[in-house]
C-alpha cells in the first residue's frame, strides 16, 4: 500500500557510477518488444541508470497524415498501435467526426463500442501473454494467443481482414454487420470467461510470476501524473481517471461498468488492472450485443458521409453522382477551418489526435498523442533499484508498442 521507494539507490551517486558498467539492451532483442534500445548502467546486477534510445521504427506517420484524406488515413492509423488496430481507427474517426460535427447513429455507436472493447481484450491478452513469455512462461502465451484468434475471426467476419481492418469511415463504418457476426460475438462472450479463468490461474497466482513482478517497477501517483501517464499504467498507481466515464464518447453512457484502479503502482498492480479491465470489457460487450439497435450505419446528412451501396452506384444516376461527390478529392464535404483535440480511452491509455483542418477533407496537421511515448519516458524512474532481470518485467508491464512510440 505504501508507495515509498524503499532501498532505492541514488541514481546520481558519483561513487556508484564509477563502479558501473554499460550494457546495451539493443534494438534487436526478444524482450524489447521489437526495436527498443536501452543503454543500461549496471552495478553488478543492479540497474543504476537506464537511458532509452528510440526511433528505430519512426516511419513518418504524421507526414503521411498531411497527404491522405480522412478516410484514407485510417489505413495508416491502424498501423500505429498494431496490437489493437481498431482502437486507433475509432479514436481517429472520433476526432474527425468531432471536427466536422457529426453525431453517429446508435447502431454505429454500439458496433464501434463493441469493437473498442474487443480490442481492449485483444491488447491486454497480448501484453500479458508476451510479458509472461519474456519471463519464461510459454504456456500462458499460447493460451492468450488462442483467445486472440477468436477475436481475429470476429474482425474478419465484419471487415474482411484479420488485422488492420480500416473498418471505420467518417460518419459510419465500411460494411454493416450480419447476423452471423452477432452470433460469433455472442459465442465469444460465452467462451471467454472460461479462457480467462485458465489464463488467470496460470499467471496471477503463479509463485514465480508474483515474485518477479511484485514490488518491481514502482511508479508513484505524482510521478505518473506529472509524467503524463494515462490508462492502465496510471490507474495502477492510483490515478482514478478513465475517459469512458469522465468524457464519455460512443455509447459508453448506456452501459454499466466499473473503472479498474489499483494502488500498488508496481508491475503486479498493472497486470491486475489489465486483467480486471478485461472482465469489465466482456461485461460491456455482453450488454451491447444484447441491445444492438437496428437502423442505418451511416449518419443522415444528405449523403455527405458514406458511400452508397454498389447496386445503387451501378444502376442509378443518383447513386453514381453520390459516389462521385464523396470520392473525388476536390468535391468532398467541407470541413471547418479549425483545429481539434479529441481523445479516447484506448487499451494503452489516452490516445488523442490533434487535427488542424484547413477546410478540405485532408488534415493540415494530424498529430497523434501517443500514450507509449510518455510511458517509456517514465521507464528510467521505474527502474530505480531494480535488477537486470526486472528490466524485462517492467518493460512488459508498461506495454510499449514501438510503432505508437515512434510513429
Amino acid at each position: 500500500m505504501a508507495l515509498e521507494l524503499i532501498d532505492s539507490p541514488d541514481l546520481m551517486d558519483a561513487q556508484k557510477r564509477e563502479g558501473s558498467w554499460t550494457l546495451n539492451f539493443g534494438p534487436q532483442h526478444p524482450a524489447t518488444h521489437t526495436t527498443l534500445r536501452l543503454v543500461l548502467q549496471l552495478d553488478g546486477e543492479t540497474v543504476v541508470d537506464a537511458e532509452p534510445d528510440i526511433g528505430f521504427l519512426h516511419s513518418g506517420f504524421e507526414k503521411l497524415g498531411e497527404s491522405l484524406d480522412f478516410n484514407q488515413y485510417v489505413t495508416i492509423v491502424d498501423r500505429m498501435n498494431y496490437i489493437s488496430p481498431m482502437a486507433n481507427e475509432i479514436a481517429w474517426h472520433h476526432a474527425v467526426e468531432k471536427l466536422i460535427g457529426i453525431d453517429l447513429t446508435p447502431r454505429c455507436k454500439y458496433i464501434r463500442t463493441i469493437f473498442a472493447e474487443l480490442m481492449r481484450i485483444h491488447d491486454h491478452l497480448l501484453c500479458l501473454g508476451a510479458c509472461v513469455l519474456d519471463l519464461g512462461g510459454v504456456t500462458a502465451f499460447m493460451y492468450a494467443f488462442n483467445e486472440r484468434e477468436a477475436i481475429y475471426e470476429i474482425c474478419e467476419r465484419a471487415s474482411g481482414q484479420r488485422f488492420h481492418t480500416s473498418y471505420t469511415r467518417v460518419g459510419g463504418l465500411l460494411y454493416d454487420v450480419t447476423d452471423d457476426w452477432v452470433a460469433m460475438v455472442r459465442k465469444f462472450v460465452k467462451s471467454f470467461p472460461r479462457a480467462y479463468d485458465d489464463f488467470s490461474g496460470l499467471v496471477m497466482k503463479n509463485r514465480i510470476f508474483v515474485e518477479r513482478t511484485r514490488g518491481v517497477g514502482l511508479l508513484t501517483r505524482e510521478q505518473a501524473i506529472a509524467g503524463g501517464a494515462t490508462g492502465p499504467v496510471a490507474r495502477a498507481s492510483g490515478v482514478e481517471r478513465d475517459l469512458r466515464r469522465d468524457e464519455p464518447y460512443l455509447a459508453y453512457n448506456d452501459f454499466d461498468f466499473d473503472i479498474c484502479c489499483a494502488r500498488g503502482g508496481d508491475c503486479y498492480a498493472r497486470f491486475q488492472v489489465r486483467m480486471m479491465e478485461m472482465q469489465q470489457s466482456i461485461k460491456i460487450i455482453e450488454q451491447a450485443i444484447e441491445n444492438l439497435p437496428g437502423g442505418p450505419i451511416f449518419v443522415e446528412d444528405n449523403g455527405k458521409s458514406g458511400l452508397p451501396d454498389k447496386t445503387e452506384v451501378y444502376r442509378s444516376i443518383e447513386g453514381l453522382i453520390h459516389h462521385f461527390e464523396n470520392i473525388m478529392p476536390n468535391r468532398q464535404m467541407d470541413v471547418p477551418n479549425e483545429s481539434i483535440y479529441a481523445a479516447t480511452e484506448s487499451p494503452n491509455g489516452e490516445l488523442g489526435y490533434y487535427i488542424v483542418g484547413n477546410g478540405t477533407f485532408k488534415a493540415y496537421r494530424a498529430r497523434t498523442r501517443p500514450p507509449s511515448l510518455l510511458h517509456f519516458a517514465l521507464f528510467p524512474l521505474m527502474m530505480r533499484g531494480c535488477m537486470l532481470s526486472d528490466v524485462v518485467a517492467v518493460l512488459g508491464s508498461i506495454n510499449i508498442i514501438a510503432a505508437e512510440l515512434d510513429r
Partner: protein, 163 residues
C-alpha cells in the same frame, strides 16, 4: 473562471481566447509563455501536460507567423482541459523548457525539436529523439518533401557472396 484567473494574474498581457466544440484555447505571446504555464500548473492545478506539438503554418493562407507551438493541459481530478498556443518565427525558434514544471515535457520537447527545429532552452538532455543524430533536416516542416531527400537509402549494399 480559468479565463478570469488568468486575466487577473497577467493583467498587462493580451490573450486571445477562443472556444471550439467545448475546447478552450488561448494564444499567448512567447515571452509570457513560461509564466503562464507555471501559473496554470501551480495555481490552477493543471497537473498533467497531455501533449506538446507544433504546427508549421507555411501553407496556411493569411498566416502571420510560421510556427505555432501548442500545449495541452489537463487537470486530472476534475477533467478540465486547456489548450495554450504560442507563435514563433525563424530565425529565433527558442522557447523556455517546461520540464521543470511537468516531467512529461522532456521527450515531447525533444520530439518537437526533432520534427520542427524548435529549440527549448534549459532542457536537461537536448538532442534528437526519433531520427538518427546525423539527420540534417526537420521533416515535418512543409518545405521538406514526404519522400525525403535520399537519406533513407544512403547505406551500403550487401551482396550474396559477401554474407
Amino acid at each position: 473562471m480559468v479565463e478570469s484567473a488568468i486575466a487577473e494574474k497577467f493583467a498587462t498581457t493580451k490573450f486571445a481566447w477562443s472556444e471550439f466544440r467545448d475546447q478552450k484555447r488561448v494564444v499567448v505571446p512567447a515571452e509570457r509563455l513560461w509564466d503562464l504555464l507555471k501559473f496554470c500548473c501551480t495555481e490552477l492545478k493543471f497537473n498533467q501536460l497531455t501533449d506538446l506539438t507544433a504546427v508549421d503554418h507555411l501553407e496556411t493562407p493569411d498566416a502571420t507567423d510560421r510556427f505555432e507551438v501548442v500545449y495541452f493541459l489537463l487537470e486530472v481530478e476534475s477533467g478540465k482541459r486547456l489548450q495554450i498556443s504560442t507563435f514563433i518565427n525563424e530565425p529565433d525558434l527558442v522557447l523556455p523548457t517546461a520540464t521543470n514544471i511537468w516531467s512529461g515535457a522532456d521527450w515531447l520537447e525533444r520530439e518537437c525539436y526533432d520534427m520542427f527545429g524548435v529549440v527549448f532552452k534549459g532542457h536537461p538532455n537536448f538532442k534528437r529523439l526519433l531520427l538518427p543524430q546525423e539527420f540534417a533536416s526537420f521533416p515535418l516542416r512543409k518545405d521538406y518533401p514526404q519522400q525525403g531527400r535520399g537519406e533513407r537509402h544512403n547505406f551500403p549494399v550487401i551482396t550474396r557472396a559477401e554474407g
